[in-house]
């Protein structure tokens, strides 16, 4: 942050440093590549847009909505990845928590707010179990959370069918206090454009996670634990506690999305969330997180989520044949990362 000739300790300019502008320094941030990629994708879709609406506030309301439910969890997944672990159960957790909320309200007759509270408690417990198993068994979290993923997926379907006879829970809106909960989690705002309140949650959580990662002690520990768990342990970082808390945060952010989605649609389907665990990981990696841990940024994951959101919505606005959706997605991904490499590498200087 203070690479240039700041008024710091070494009296004169250090002759061992070439001059670097503020621009170059920004270019070296992990999320910068993703930001460039996002800009590229935005410009692409603004250009190919058939309706003139993509680059408007209306269009923004659409793609931020898509990005928000990915981003809320992707930020948590990014922190977890920086901490050196994966959570494959983050996707199914969205469905599980929605079902817990739904069943508590419709079958147990609980009011919506206490049900939401219990849902978060449930998610925290599952996250803690994930973390505890990873820390205790020393097995790769990929395997542990995969087992959790399968188990929850099975429980979601089995329990829902056993209780309701169908594969979904309906009529959550009949619960007491639904209206106020909906305002907090699922409302729309800014009238002509209809932004979703999920976007606010997403932005707030991104800011908080960024602050924690860069400014709080806990953030320091996250990076250290993922960068070199042994070194972190040897310098006195509480490695196990850090990891367990990260798993809990991830599960709870998935639960937040579960609550948002189920209040919004007033129903939950047993298969919900399955598959999105990889979307979260993709967002985090596109945003600059290393799969090997120890490096990345929360804001990057949000930018990654934006890229995904823009791509899906942009294709709709562009009127492209959706048979080719995945080809477009692939090319956009290539483009986003190539822009990243080409430009940022040129600016930041050689590597070898």
């Amino acid at each position: 942050m203070s690479t240039t000739t700041a008024p710091a300790a070494p009296p004169a300019a250090d002759e061992r440093l070439a001059k670097t502008g503020a621009v170059t320094r920004i270019f070296r941030r992990p999320e910068f590549g993703a930001l460039l990629g996002a800009l590229g994708v935005f410009i692409l879709f603004a250009v190919v847009d058939q309706t003139g609406k993509f680059a408007s506030l209306e269009g923004a309301a659409r793609w931020t909505d898509s990005a928000a439910t990915i981003g809320i969890v992707a930020v948590a997944v990014a922190l977890l990845m920086i901490g050196g672990e994966f959570d494959l159960s983050a996707g199914v957790m969205v469905g599980s928590s929605g079902l817990v909320l739904g069943l508590l309200v419709t079958e147990m007759g609980l009011a919506v707010w206490p049900a939401i509270l219990l849902t978060f408690v449930f998610a925290a417990a599952v996250g803690a179990l994930n973390g505890w198993l990873v820390v205790k068994t020393k097995l790769p979290s990929f395997i542990v959370t995969l087992a959790m993923f399968f188990s929850l997926q099975g429980i979601n379907l089995g329990v829902t069918k056993a209780i309701t006879g169908t594969v979904r829970v309906d009529d959550i809106d009949e619960g007491a206090g639904f209206a106020s909960a909906e305002k907090v989690f699922a409302a729309q705002f800014w009238d002509p454009y209809q932004f979703r309140v999920a976007v606010v949650w997403w932005v707030v959580l991104t800011v908080v996670a960024t602050w924690v990662l860069t400014r709080a002690r806990f953030g320091n520990w996250i990076t250290a634990v993922g960068g070199d768990a042994n070194a972190a342990r040897n310098t006195g970082v509480p490695v196990s506690r850090t990891k367990i808390l990260l798993f809990m945060y991830t599960a709870m952010s998935a639960a937040l999305v579960g609550v948002i989605t189920s209040l919004r649609l007033q129903s939950v389907q047993a298969g919900q969330g399955v598959g999105s665990e990889f979307t979260f990981i993709i967002a985090a990696v596109v945003g600059g997180c290393l799969l090997t841990g120890g490096y990345g940024s929360a804001i990057g994951a949000s930018i990654g989520a934006s890229i995904i959101g823009m791509a899906f919505i942009g294709i709709a606005f562009a009127g492209w044949n959706t048979d080719w959706t995945y080809l477009f997605l692939g090319l956009i991904l290539f483009m986003a990362v190539m822009v990243n490499t080409l430009i940022s590498r040129r600016v930041a200087g050689g590597r070898r």
Binding site: R62, W63, K161, V167, D170, Q266, Q269, G271, F312, G319
Partner: protein
């Protein structure tokens, strides 16, 4: 049709095992079919072995082979891809195991050696939906595909396109795993193309998402769907959804188990060389009230 394995035979009545092997995915459609099979097995007093391949033809073939190895007394299969499972079904007929096809397969069941077929082609169901939407005055239809690898969904849209008359656009969305994102994608599409006046969803959850999307986008398109859920039925009652195509998949699970049991116990065959059709039926505002409770209970 008596094969080479007459050792443990299919005679020990009262202890019959019927395998139902579909390409299903445990979702809203197939969970009802499964329920039908379970109810039938209960009533007939046979053991049910229900398996799904989640649209993977190779897996379905392997499951059929496993059932042959397990020496079941009858196999009911859906036939989304006849080429892929004909080899496995040949093993079944070689082993003297009776076969009933269900859901898709109405044109090939005889070639596969099945004793009968129960169901309704996805494509014919789609044709029905297309007709109805055209009759409602639609000119441009969005057919929302929520699973890219599901041939049944492609067939439904293809059928709808054939009878709709107007323009039909297939639209790939994220799917039931993220209904809010799906809703948002549909909303964007409706915003982008204001000419769309009909939306055909292929799943009740997608229908509810489309309903929300219509609201967000301020569109006044007509929404129709495949299959039922409690929400969908009340939406039909409220007039928010025009109709739901009901293939009565409960029967597609129920009847093959009954037929195979009767074949084993009483050498009965049904249909007289013709398939047993279960649909398409339509749930509209007129008859929605009748099926509301059944849909909530998961049998419609």
């Amino acid at each position: 049709d008596d094969g080479d394995s007459g050792d443990s035979g299919s005679s020990s009545s009262g202890d019959l095992t019927i395998a139902v092997i579909t390409h299903g995915d445990g979702g809203s459609f197939w969970s009802v079919a499964k329920k039908g099979a379970e109810d039938a097995a209960d009533k007939m007093g046979v053991t049910l072995d229900y398996q799904e391949s989640n649209n993977d033809p190779e897996k379905q073939a392997q499951l059929i082979e496993a059932a042959v190895t397990a020496d079941v007394d009858g196999i009911a299969v859906s036939v989304p891809n006849p080429d892929a499972i004909q080899g496995a079904l040949q093993q079944a007929t070689d082993a003297g195991i009776p076969i009933v096809t269900l859901n898709s397969g109405s044109t090939v069941w005889q070639d596969l050696g099945a004793i009968t077929h129960v169901g309704q082609d996805e494509k014919i169901a789609g044709e029905g939906a297309g007709e109805q939407l055209a009759a409602n005055g639609g000119t441009k239809m969005l057919c929302v595909i929520h699973e890219q690898n599901n041939t049944g969904l492609q067939d439904r849209c293809a059928g709808a396109a054939e009878t709709f008359g107007g323009e039909v656009e297939n639209f790939q969305v994220t799917g039931t795993e993220d209904p809010s994102k799906t809703a948002n994608e549909i909303a964007a599409k409706l915003q982008a193309d204001t000419g769309i006046d009909s939306v055909l969803a292929l799943n009740p959850d997608i229908a509810m998402a489309a309903l929300e999307a219509k609201d967000t986008a301020g569109s006044d398109a007509t929404i129709a769907t495949f299959d039922l859920s409690g929400d969908v039925v009340s939406a039909i009652e409220d007039g928010d959804i025009l109709f739901a195509v009901d293939q009565q998949q409960y029967l597609q699970g129920y009847l093959p188990v009954v037929f195979l049991t009767l074949f084993n116990e009483n050498a009965n065959t049904v249909g007289g060389g013709q398939p047993v059709l279960t649909g398409p039926g339509f749930v509209t505002k007129d008859n929605a009230a009748q099926v509301a409770d059944l849909a909530e209970a998961g049998t419609r």
